[in-house]
């Protein structure tokens, strides 16, 4: 180890911060070099002076610091809200308000949407009288059974049924064996369509059959 290398390592050597190999190498050089030995002693002496920089604090100062710290902690505790939920109270209130608005909107909106899309679905309060001018006699009750639930919905069905000749209009005595009824959205308007045709005077193929059969 040269003097230059040894002096470069002296600051760490005096603190024991070198590895064992370098420590022994520098120590060997110092044993043989008086100048570097003096330099190493200078570093050690400077380190010995370091503790003089310390400040001393009396017990009264320490107690004062403790009291200040504890007072500050107590003050912060008293100032702080008791719980996290309380701390977040404004946010909880806003969240609850938003939730209530969403809930109310979800409950009310179906009525608005339904009325906007299907204005005809708003039913009158009283039961809908089944229009029966096309039928006669005891068939009315049977025809009424075609409407599944008159109180809740207007039937929009296409019904085709065989009609006895006696029920056919007088203008088509030779006439139609099939009759189609189309109920429109308006309960007072029904489209009745007679079609097809048997020969005149021909009886229906099944006069005792169910007049409500849909074919």
């Amino acid at each position: 180890v040269t003097c230059h290398a040894a002096r470069r390592l002296l600051p760490l050597f005096t603190g024991g911060d070198l590895n064992a190999l370098k420590m022994s190498a520098v120590a060997g050089h110092l044993a043989a070099c008086a100048a570097c030995q003096g330099e190493a002693e200078a570093f050690s002496a400077a380190r010995c002076l370091l503790p003089l920089s310390s400040l001393s604090f009396g017990e009264s100062e320490r107690a004062q610091i403790r009291r200040r710290v504890l007072d500050e902690i107590a003050r912060r505790r008293s100032d702080a809200p008791p719980t996290v939920a309380f701390q977040l109270r404004p946010r909880f209130a806003l969240a609850a308000l938003a939730g209530a608005i969403v809930l109310a909107a979800s409950l009310v909106s179906p009525f608005f949407i339904r009325s906007a899309v299907e204005p005809a679905a708003v039913l009158p309060a009283r039961p809908i009288p089944f229009p029966t001018p096309a039928l006669a006699g005891e068939r009315i009750a049977e025809a009424e059974a075609l409407v599944p639930d008159r109180s809740t919905a207007i039937p929009r069905v296409l019904r085709a049924k065989k009609v006895p000749r006696t029920l056919a209009p007088a203008s088509e005595k030779s006439g139609p064996a099939m009759r189609f009824e189309i109920q429109t959205g308006n309960v007072n308007v029904r489209i009745i369509w007679f079609t097809g045709g048997n020969s005149a005077g021909e009886e229906p193929s099944d006069p005792s059959g169910d007049p409500n059969d849909v074919s």
């Binding site: 760490l12 050690s44 001393s56 604090f57």
Partner: protein, 209 residues
């Protein structure tokens, strides 16, 4: 010739012996657990056990009594605030040192001074301050040491204080300062060289006498 460290003991430890408040981390653990749950008495006991270290370190880094007191107060407030985040397997002393160094760094920034103040009120003279030649020499020496420390950069000063005065190893200092051990060794070497140059008149006179 005075050698630096031997077997992990530093010069300060050899000269002054173990510090009175140097409580082992294991003995502090019950206090830490209680204080973490909000026990004010346990936290006060924890302060009593560690305030000496905190005050001394803050005083050495800041070089001013008032600043060191304020820093110690802030350190314990931060300890109370962040104690819940302290893990039991951690080294409480290193954790405390880290907080203290950070508080001192903040205090140094606030005071906008590059180095510590050199306070004349904290002199402890061996002869009780009777004004003899020896006491004047001692006072002069203390001033010189504090002035020399004040000329170091904050990182060099913190590394030197932790390594040579608090007795931490380079690895422990690196953990406290958040840097690598090689960096700490370089900072310590630079600081020792500067101190040796600035204190040369005093220890040469002391060697002669």
């Amino acid at each position: 010739m005075v050698h630096g460290t031997a077997g992990g003991l530093t010069m300060a430890a050899l000269l002054y012996g173990p510090l009175p408040e140097a409580t082992d981390a294991d003995s502090l653990l019950p206090l830490i657990v209680k204080a973490r749950s909000g026990d004010a008495e346990a936290f006060e006991s924890l302060m009593v056990a560690t305030e000496g270290r905190v005050l001394r370190l803050a005083g050495r880094i800041l070089g001013d009594r008032d600043l060191a007191r304020d820093a110690a107060q802030e350190v314990f407030l931060r300890v109370f605030k962040y104690l819940r985040g302290f893990r039991d397997q951690e080294d409480f002393r290193a954790w405390l040192y880290r907080i203290t160094v950070n508080v001192c760094r903040d205090a140094g920034r606030r005071t906008s001074r590059p180095g510590p103040r050199v306070s004349l009120e904290g002199h402890e003279l061996e002869d009780g301050g009777t004004g003899t030649e020896a006491s004047l020499l001692s006072r002069e020496r203390v001033d010189a040491v504090r002035s020399a420390l004040a000329t170091l950069s904050p990182r060099e000063r913190a590394a030197l204080v932790l390594r040579d005065l608090e007795g931490l190893t380079s690895e422990e200092v690196s953990k406290v300062l958040g840097s690598r051990p090689g960096t700490v060794r370089a900072q310590v070497a630079s600081a020792r060289t500067k101190l040796r140059e600035r204190l040369a008149p005093f220890f040469e006179r002391g060697v002669r006498t």
